[in-house]
């Protein structure tokens, strides 16, 4: 089962019927659906499914029992328990995602790369998302943000809730539990919004994203045949592809959840309309950044050690540096965590953490200088032109990071950057020459992207395309929705590729 398969729609339809007929037992239906969905999307070997079963049981059990134990414990015992429970959850993440690669690499150095084959758990779908949610819950219980949940079903639904389990968003127990526990009545408006949100996601993924992928694949597959400028264009295409793929996936997930009356937190807020790299990360994969800030960065800044460090730096380097140095150190940890979360592969680490961190650091350190320059040049920061320049600058800087993701390896990433610099305008092929894209495809890609950016611009301005359409007469809504459906039906590249963020 995938989010674009027939079985997913059949699953949703049957699930919805049972859900709305089951009255107070709705959360049990959600748990049953979540378990079914989780095992249905996994590759079909029994051994693999048994392994997943064991991992899922372990995570739910540890989160439930751990929460209860932490809640009852006091003082130091509470901290130690929290530490062990979180360690137990984090261990799943490390064992399933990193240990095999690390140990195989080390064993390879000694000529025995197969020595740690038993550590190869294969990919555990969604582990990076639900482990973070579970750790967040235990941390909140430890901080007494809310009492531990006594019903294991509620924990099970929270950890495994099917729309979010494979690619997020990373949720908080306080946001979700009340929604799972309340009885949801059948609301046609909500269902309509859910379906429309899903359609919007399918439009982004099937009509736009997969077409941009063809360009990226062609150019990065044989980069030496292209000029630096063409590679840059392909990188921009990757940025558009990544955004429409990931945000499209989120739209499908949120729309599906909406059908069951459960609202998930937004993961995107018009990221391409960000004036700075920092703002970009506040608008892109919001729940992940928010999680790392709330559970890693801020607590770290509040630790005794950091406060002491701040005081020492203040004495030695002055007030400003006293503030900044602990902040930068906490940022290092935050970005290290984000880089590690993205899989720990060198090139992904550089793209998702290394370069964004450096850009933010430079932005922060150099901001007084930028301020002086803009004052000297009498630049009006509120002007549309200045904002547009800032948007472009931010996105261009991030394209630099995405070169490494497109390259697929650190060394290759550097080689591509070198090639871009040395062959800025000289290439052997045209960007579209090695693809099957026709004029119609280009219209769909760029026309579709214009619609997406328009919707994002409305979101940036605090409005929404859905609300705008809802205010219009039914006939207009009908035309807009059905035009979207027809474009997907006629031009959707169905079954061509999986969602990028499923790999995490």
């Amino acid at each position: 089962m995938t989010l674009t398969s027939f079985s997913f729609f059949a699953f949703l339809l049957i699930g919805l019927l049972v859900y709305y007929m089951s009255g107070k037992g709705q959360k049990y239906v959600l748990l049953a659906m979540s378990l079914f969905f989780y095992f249905a999307i996994a590759p079909a070997t029994l051994r693999y499914r048994l392994k997943l079963c064991a991992i899922v049981f372990y995570v739910v059990f540890l989160t439930y029992v751990g929460g209860l134990l932490i809640d009852r414990a006091k003082g130091k015992r509470r901290t130690i328990l929290t530490f062990f429970c979180i360690g137990g959850l984090a261990a799943v993440l490390f064992v399933t995602k990193y240990f095999y690669n690390i140990f195989t690499g080390i064993a390879g150095l000694f000529g025995n790369p197969g020595a740690f084959e038993w550590l190869n758990f294969g990919s555990v779908i969604g582990v990076s998302y639900f482990i973070l949610s579970a750790i967040g819950y235990l941390t909140d219980v430890c901080w007494e943000s809310y009492p531990a949940e006594k019903n294991p079903v509620n924990i099970g639904v929270f950890v495994l809730y099917f729309p979010q389990v494979i690619s997020g968003p990373v949720t908080r127990f306080s946001q979700m539990n009340s929604q799972f526990c309340e009885k949801t009545g059948f609301d046609p408006d909500r269902i309509s919004h859910g379906i429309r949100r899903m359609l919007w996601g399918y439009f982004k993924k099937l009509v736009i994203s997969d077409r941009f992928f063809l360009i990226v694949n062609a150019v990065y597959g044989d980069y030496t045949a292209y000029s630096g400028w063409q590679i840059f264009l392909a990188t921009v295409c990757y940025a558009l592809r990544l955004y429409t793929d990931f945000s499209g996936c989120m739209d499908i997930v949120m729309g599906a959840s909406e059908l069951f009356g459960v609202s998930l937190p937004e993961n995107f807020n018009a990221p391409f309309f960000s004036a700075t790299v920092q703002e970009f990360w506040q608008r892109w994969h919001i729940t992940l950044g928010g999680w790392f800030k709330d559970y890693v960065m801020y607590p770290l800044q509040k630790t005794k050690g950091m406060i002491e460090l701040g005081k020492k730096c203040k004495k030695r380097f002055g007030k400003k540096a006293g503030k900044k140095i602990p902040f930068y150190l906490a940022m290092v940890v935050l970005w290290f965590g984000i880089g590690l979360w993205h899989g720990g592969a060198g090139y992904y680490f550089i793209a998702s953490a290394g370069i964004p961190f450096l850009l933010m650091l430079l932005g922060d350190v150099l901001s007084p200088l930028f301020e002086k320059v803009s004052n000297a040049l009498h630049i009006r920061k509120e002007s549309g032109i200045f904002k547009t320049v800032c948007f472009l600058r931010t996105n261009l800087l991030l394209c630099f990071a995405w070169v490494f993701v497109c390259a697929g390896a650190t060394g290759r990433g550097f080689r591509i950057l070198g090639h871009q610099a040395s062959h800025l305008l000289t290439g052997e092929r045209s960007v579209l020459g090695n693809t099957t894209l026709q004029a119609l495809d280009l219209c769909l890609m760029f026309g579709g992207m214009a619609v997406v950016l328009f919707a994002d611009y409305l979101q940036y301005k605090g409005k929404s395309l859905t609300d705008l359409l809802d205010a219009k007469p039914f006939a207009l809504r009908f035309l807009a929705v059905n035009a979207e459906i027809l474009v997907i039906l006629f031009y959707g590249l169905v079954g061509s590729s999986a969602f990028i963020y499923f790999q995490f």
Binding site: F6, P188, I195, F478, V481, I485, L489, V494
Partner: protein
């Protein structure tokens, strides 16, 4: 309630549109089983144009069997190599050609099972011997015969003297596939592509129609079930056959390093013994490869022994059971050239006729 109606009004038309296009255009004939009507038209002596390339030949031939007279002079079974053999070729009106594109081990057994089940008794069976029956690695990959497999199992029980249980007459396609395809966006796009490449006019009589004049360029079935290729296919020259021979996937059709399956050989011998016991005459036909293709396979003989093993087996069977054997895989023995073919494998109808010396029964 009004909200519910609005919800339905918003999304239902598109859903119905998707379902309607998939159902009515249906280029793969998933929802339309015209086999019975086509078979009826054929058995009434009509010639039938097949509009869609995906018409289920197996269903047509199955329905033909159910409409056949109980006693027939000759039945032809085998792959497409034998599909053009017609009543004129064999000199009897009471003949039916059951050959199918890519007919494999199970297809042929299923047809023989259906004949048995319908108590149709042929005087003679012409068996076109090909790798699709005898190469397990090849027919193991084919799935076209799946729906008819119960009849193949039935025939296997019959020839091995087991207590054979007739297959149930229920003819239903997998419900899951039907539901999946009616809502399938991929199938919708295939329907649109079909209309795009064949034009809107293709929707008229797109599946099949009775051939009333000689104006159409399309392929058609004769009343005896034999096949006439479309005009474009018939216009192939020696050069096009040579080109086709170069592109022919010999590693697939004569499995590289493959051998004749022992179980297929055993089944075949059981079939011969069974029919001889029933007083049915069995004849074998080895359809020659085009000279270009034969040379290509011969050059790689070591890794494609299957072809030679099969010919040797057919000759042995003919000798052991006193069967008539027509043809040879070797075109030199048959005195044919590349120009005598439609493609690398299919001999022109007029040339094929010369291989047989049959007269009226």
């Amino acid at each position: 309630m009004k909200k519910l109606w609005l919800l339905l009004a918003l999304f239902l038309p598109a859903l119905l549109f998707l379902m309607g296009v998939n159902y009515f255009l249906d280029p793969a004939n998933i929802f339309h089983s015209d086999g019975k009507q086509i078979a009826q038209a054929l058995m009434q002596g009509n010639e039938v144009y097949i509009g869609s390339g995906n018409t289920d030949e197996r269903q047509i031939k199955k329905n033909m069997i159910s409409l056949m007279p109980k006693e027939v002079d000759l039945v032809v079974v085998g792959p497409s190599l034998a599909m053009t053999i017609d009543r004129v070729t064999v000199g009897t009106e009471n003949m039916y050609n059951l050959a199918l594109s890519g007919a494999d081990y199970y297809d042929i057994l299923a047809q023989l099972g259906m004949l048995e089940e319908q108590q149709v008794k042929p005087k003679k069976i012409l068996f076109c011997v090909d790798s699709t029956f005898f190469d397990e690695a090849l027919y193991g990959q084919m799935s076209r015969s799946e729906t008819l497999k119960p009849y193949a199992d039935y025939m296997l029980q019959v020839i091995s003297n087991q207590d054979a249980k007739k297959p149930s007459g229920t003819d239903w396609k997998n419900a899951k596939v039907l539901v999946q395809q009616i809502f399938s966006v991929t199938y919708f796009q295939a329907c649109v592509d079909y209309v795009k490449s064949n034009g809107l006019s293709s929707l008229q009589n797109m599946r099949w129609s009775i051939r009333e004049d000689d104006l159409s360029e399309n392929a058609y079935l004769r009343g005896d079930g034999s096949w006439v290729y479309n005009r474009a296919y018939q216009s192939a020259t020696g050069e096009t056959v040579q080109k086709n021979a170069q592109e022919y996937n010999i590693d697939y059709y004569f499995t590289k390093d493959g051998h004749v399956s022992e179980s297929s050989k055993e089944t075949f011998e059981q079939l011969i013994r069974y029919y001889q016991g029933q007083g049915v005459e069995v004849s074998l036909f080895l359809c020659p490869l085009s000279p270009s293709l034969y040379t290509r396979v011969e050059n790689q003989k070591e890794s494609h022994m299957l072809l030679w093993e099969l010919e040797e087996f057919a000759c042995r069977m003919a000798e052991n059971y006193d069967l008539e054997l027509y043809g040879s895989y070797d075109p030199k023995q048959m005195g044919v050239t590349d120009a005598d073919y439609y493609d690398a494998r299919h001999v022109r109808h007029e040339v094929l006729c010369t291989f047989f010396d049959w007269k009226t029964y």
